[in-house]
Amino acid sequence: MAMIEITDLHKSFGANDVLKGVSFAVERGEVVVVLGPSGSGKSTLLRCINLLEDWQAGDIRIDGESVGYFDGGRRRAWPEAKAAKVREQVGLVFQSFNLFPHRTALENVMMGPLHVRRMAKPEARKLAGDLLEKVGLADKADQYPATLSGGQQQRVAIARALAMQPKVMLFDEVTSALDPELVGEVLIVMRRLAEEGMTMIIVTHEIHFARDVSDRIIFMDAGAIVEQGPPAQVLASPASERLKLFLRRYQGDYLAV
């Protein structure tokens, strides 16, 4: 049974169709990278999986369980409380980090365990401390986000999401807002997570990283999956014109049209 199963997902914002029948599955421990031009619906896809967005048609199953809607004959969205329970199992790291500015790095990581799992404070602190060490920021535990660099903030954000011990981790262009020299430190953390067997769906523009770390690459354009397959194959010999174009742009041919 796949960890994540998406069947014929349709999502629109008003008159704008953003996802037009997306279907794919992600196995336990698999690392999937989603590539695509902006506006292709990649972020929206992730936000649907962790129920931050609702959708018009289609099914999402997490670890076998269909989430988001009651379908006893009629479609009805889940109440917040039920959706919150699902989000405990799906970690999402954002492009803009979204750390809580009024809490230290350690306190940020403790937020989930303390206020959702209702862990005792000393226990939560130890868990958070270990996670910060894992992402290489043990010495920044008592710093506020404003004093940390972008790369450091993003690593704290990853630790924060991991603190909930999710079954799946979603990454939404987490290095796109970073200065180039800070990107590496975040990718290292993500690579280690992949090696440890975490199920991951990564939306990114880092093609080299995708080739090295992913088990499968999915290419999306205009709300639909155009092509997918093992990285070596998809990147070296793209089948579709659109993917060929996309890759040329990313290999530096900025005049490719």
Partner: protein
């Protein structure tokens, strides 16, 4: 010349004490009311949100004096016999509440939606998000305008004199009508109000500067 002011000072100071009581009651209760309403105004019930929006819109669009008159005449009309202070006080509390609600609502809505998304992604529910993420930051943002709001409320207690409640301004008019020493008395009264209000003004400005620095 200044003698008139000095001889009447005790009377005026008693008026000032009344003003302070009134101000304290109005500011505390009005701010509490407004904070509660402001939080509700960001909640999920569309009806509640609409009702509070109407309340804020109406009260912010009419003079506080009119609301005070309403209080003064409405209570007896409804069958309650209350003294002038209660009538005027309740009116002002309702008025201050509207402005406070707008400030609080604004502050809550100004917390970056990305943080709320992050909190939701951790599985936090609305209560925890409000308590741990939104309110700590919204409070910080809201304090300078709330302090200014309090300052305005304190000054507005003077208008209670027009409706017949006895406080500092009422006392001042009594004395002026008796002694005709308008300059001395009113300037003296202005000095007393200044002594009450200026510290509040400074506090508000100090807090504003602190906010700018921390960002």
């Amino acid at each position: 010349m200044v003698n008139v002011l000095i001889t009447n000072l005790p009377y005026l100071l008693r008026g000032a004490v009344m003003t302070l009581w009134l101000a304290l009651a109005v500011v505390t209760l009005g701010t509490l009311l407004g904070t509660g309403l402001g939080i509700l105004a960001t909640g999920r019930s569309r009806i509640v949100r609409a009702a509070i929006t109407v309340y804020i819109f109406v009260l912010r669009g009419i003079p506080v004096l009119v609301v005070m008159f309403l209080g003064y005449y409405a209570f007896p009309a409804l069958g309650f016999r209350v003294n002038a202070y209660v009538a005027v006080g309740v009116a002002q509390i309702v008025y201050v509440g509207a402005f406070t609600a707008e400030i609080v609502r604004s502050a809550i809505l100004s917390v970056h939606p990305g943080q709320i998304a992050a909190a939701k992604s951790l599985g936090m529910r609305r209560g925890a998000i409000l308590r741990e993420v939104i309110l700590p930051q919204a409070t910080c943002i809201a304090i300078p305008p709330l302090l200014n709001n309090a300052l305005t409320a304190v000054k507005q207690t003077a208008y209670a004199s027009v409706v017949g409640a006895w406080e500092l301004t009422y006392a001042a008019r009594e004395i002026v009508e008796r002694t005709l020493a308008s300059f001395q008395i009113f300037l003296g009264v202005m000095a007393i109000y200044f002594a009450i209000c200026y510290p509040l003004s400074l506090l508000a400005r100090w807090y504003e500067k602190r906010l700018v620095v921390s960002h």
